[in-house]
């Protein structure tokens, strides 16, 4: 096999995982982790320029190239953040060196699994990759071995497995639908073949398959009412993992769903997947928006915010059409960048304060101005205030919905406003007022956080035409 960008995004994390599993020494391995994610990012970026041909197992098109670049970019910045975060955890003794080694290896396995899920052309292979990503994150969530971490990991494992099982059943049904048309064997699981022939599939089977896939992968996206694992997993795992979960893994599951949505779109007799996704998206948005108010744990609160935003994104893709799809893609990108930036800030804040309880932190802008203002900037962005990027994408979602279904748009705006109120009410006490909790100096790496926020700000002010054209092109693919 010749070396191309696709093998690169798989091979580099795989090799790095093997190396990191055996190498001792925290400093070197943290650096190696960064080097590996950088190399993966470079490989991924090269997909924009030169693409290997599609095979029966791997596939690159404009849709997944977008996802891969986003994934590897956030994977790279998170590895930079993770180096300083994990260093602190080692110093305070929350993690021991063997666990750090395990953590780094798992980080690369997770990158491998996510990349594989994104470039898989075979729906069975895609399922395997998402399962692998789930198992990896389960292990990482439980890494602290506290009561809460174990409970969260167990809950995540059980719910994730059930979701993944339902998704497999859906995958089998897709094969059953394809078999009479495409013929037996490998071809009937290859997505590029399926999408060409999906018009002749049995619509009833395809409908049923999509329901299972929506429930299965929807659990992984964190759509309410299937979200129960998500807040616990975010709150109890190491913060870099919360950032990767929110910023990337949820997207990967959504990507799987989008691929199947494209299959259904080809078939005239099949049900329209849009309304299902719109409903689940709105439920998630409104539910999570209300849940923001009573949270006492800061990471848990931002986990609910992730559910809210995945709801918006699912809603946008469910609405479909060039503008809503464009808005969905933009929102997904902005949410990944912003939410991981927030988790970078939150990670350092909880380390400084030694707690995740919102009530025990306060006056951050006084004691730790950089972290405090970084957090505020992140929250302003995630709440969807101008001039940041999320404002623009939310504005597009809302305005395109008003044109087509005003009633839905009212619910959408209501959810957004409730979430805005919840976020600011909560963050007010953390950022301003009387300083509470320890105020030791933070050993933080601010670069990843501010890099993300700068990108979000820049996108809010000026979107380069090339980027707009690219997103429009991908939105067209999604139909």
């Amino acid at each position: 096999m010749t070396f191309d960008a696709l093998t690169g995004v798989l091979l580099i994390p795989a090799l790095a995982a093997a190396l990191l599993a055996v190498l001792p020494g925290y400093r070197m391995t943290a650096r190696l982790n960064i080097v590996a994610t950088t190399a993966t990012l470079i490989c991924a970026a090269s997909l924009f320029f030169r693409r290997p041909p599609n095979g029966p197992y791997l596939l690159v098109d404009d849709l997944n190239a977008t996802f891969i670049v986003l994934t590897t970019f956030v994977g790279f910045t998170t590895s930079v953040f993770s180096a300083s975060y994990i260093g602190h955890e080692l110093e305070t003794g929350r993690l021991t060196p063997p666990f750090v080694r395990f953590y780094h290896a798992m980080y690369q396995v997770l990158m491998f699994a996510m990349n594989l899920a994104l470039i898989a052309n075979n729906i069975g292979l895609m399922w395997v990759a998402i399962e692998l990503a789930t198992l990896t994150t389960v292990l990482m969530v439980g890494i602290y071995r506290t009561h809460e971490a174990l409970e969260a990991a167990w809950k995540y494992f059980i719910l994730g497995s059930v979701g993944i099982a339902l998704a497999l059943f859906g995958t089998i049904l897709v094969y059953m639908a394809a078999r009479p048309v495409v013929g037996e064997g490998l071809d009937a699981m290859v997505w590029t073949v399926l999408v060409k022939r999906a018009g002749d599939f049995d619509p009833a089977l395809l409908d049923l398959a999509f329901v299972f896939l929506l429930l299965g992968y929807g659990t992984k996206v964190g759509l309410a009412p299937l979200h129960a694992w998500l807040p616990d997993a975010h709150a109890e795992g190491p913060t870099p993992i919360s950032a990767v979960l929110s910023g990337l893994l949820l997207n990967v599951a959504l990507y799987a769903l989008l691929r199947f949505k494209m299959l259904l779109a080809v078939n005239a007799g099949a049900l329209a997947p849009g309304p299902l996704m719109v409903t689940l998206g709105l439920i998630s948005l409104v539910f999570a928006a209300f849940m923001l108010y009573r949270r006492r744990d800061i990471k848990r609160m931002f986990a609910y915010s992730s559910i809210e935003h995945m709801g918006i994104i699912t809603f946008a893709f469910g609405m479909g059409g060039p503008i809503a799809n464009f808005a969905g893609l933009l929102h997904m990108t902005m949410h990944s960048l912003t939410k991981s930036a927030i988790f970078f800030a939150v990670g350092h804040i909880t380390q400084v304060k030694g707690t995740q309880r919102i009530a025990d932190m306060g006056g951050l802008t006084e004691t730790h101005p950089t972290l405090g203002w970084g957090l505020i900037l992140g929250v302003v962005a995630i709440a969807g205030l101008p001039p940041l990027g999320i404002f623009m994408s939310e504005f597009l979602v809302v305005s395109s919905t008003f044109a087509r279904a005003p009633m839905l748009a009212i619910i959408l705006v209501f959810g957004l406003l409730v979430a805005l109120g919840g976020l600011f009410l909560q963050i007010n006490g953390v950022a301003f007022g009387e300083p509470r909790g320890p105020s030791a100096k933070a050993q933080a790496s601010y670069v990843p956080m501010f890099a993300h926020l700068t990108l979000v700000l820049a996108a809010g002010i000026y979107l380069p035409p090339a980027l707009v054209a690219w997103f429009q092109n991908v939105a067209g693919l999604l139909g």
Binding site: L150, L168, R179, L205
Partner: protein, 220 residues
């Protein structure tokens, strides 16, 4: 396909559903484990029969994995684990036997109604296999929600996966990729679960998940 081939496949797949229902009302861990072993055994027979009928030799491999790994290795390992942990007492259930059985019957009826209607174009064997498989999957889910004990939840999950294997083998000519992955995922799942069970034991001196529920994040 001859009438006899079809009848045997039908019998085996139907037995799987029946055994899933048997699992629902077992109230001791050992007997639950034995019933699960039987479940896996029947699955192995069913897969082997499909291999013969479909003339698909690679399915024998899946059958062998089911036989060796699921019907022998896992039950034995779990058995030892139960002995070590000393948790062979009664299983705590969330709902009573009667309610669980009624719900189980409802689920079987539901999957028959849904699958038989949807798959009327498929060949009769695949059609019935899928309907039975969905029943087994749903019964496994039901078991996971009606049990509190971690070991019995795991058994529920494994019988759910058995249902998936049944579906995958019923879908004629489905690439081996998936069968191996199913078997593989169970292996990984088992390792993960094993680790967790022991960690849970270390921390809590129990595998009753109710003990874990006390540590819900919001109630700190």
């Amino acid at each position: 396909m001859s009438r006899f081939d079809f009848d045997v496949a039908h019998l085996l797949a139907g037995s799987l559903v029946l055994i899933s229902i048997l699992e629902l009302y077992q109230d001791r861990l050992y007997s639950l484990l034995n019933v699960y072993a039987l479940h896996a055994l029947i699955l192995a027979a069913s897969v082997a029969w499909q291999a013969l009928v479909q003339d698909a030799p690679h399915l024998y491999l899946t059958a062998a994995i089911a036989l060796v790994f699921k019907a022998i290795v896992i039950p034995v390992a779990l058995h030892r684990m139960i002995v070590q942990l000393g948790i062979h007492r009664e299983i705590e259930k969330v709902v009573g036997v009667g309610a669980a059985m009624l719900a189980g019957m409802g689920l079987v009826a539901l999957s028959m109604v849904v699958m038989l209607r949807v798959t009327h174009n498929a060949d009769p064997l695949a059609q019935e296999d899928l309907a039975f498989a969905l029943s087994v999957v749903l019964l496994g889910l039901l078991m996971m929600v009606t049990r509190r004990n971690a070991v019995s939840q795991v058994i529920g999950f494994m019988s759910l996966e058995n249902g998936l294997v049944l579906a995958a083998t019923g879908a004629k000519g489905m690439p081996l990729v998936v069968e191996i992955s199913v078997a593989f995922s169970i292996l990984i799942a088992f390792i993960v679960i094993g680790i967790f069970l022991f960690r849970i034991r270390e921390r809590f001196d129990t595998v009753d998940l109710q003990a874990l529920d006390r540590f819900r994040g919001e109630r700190r």
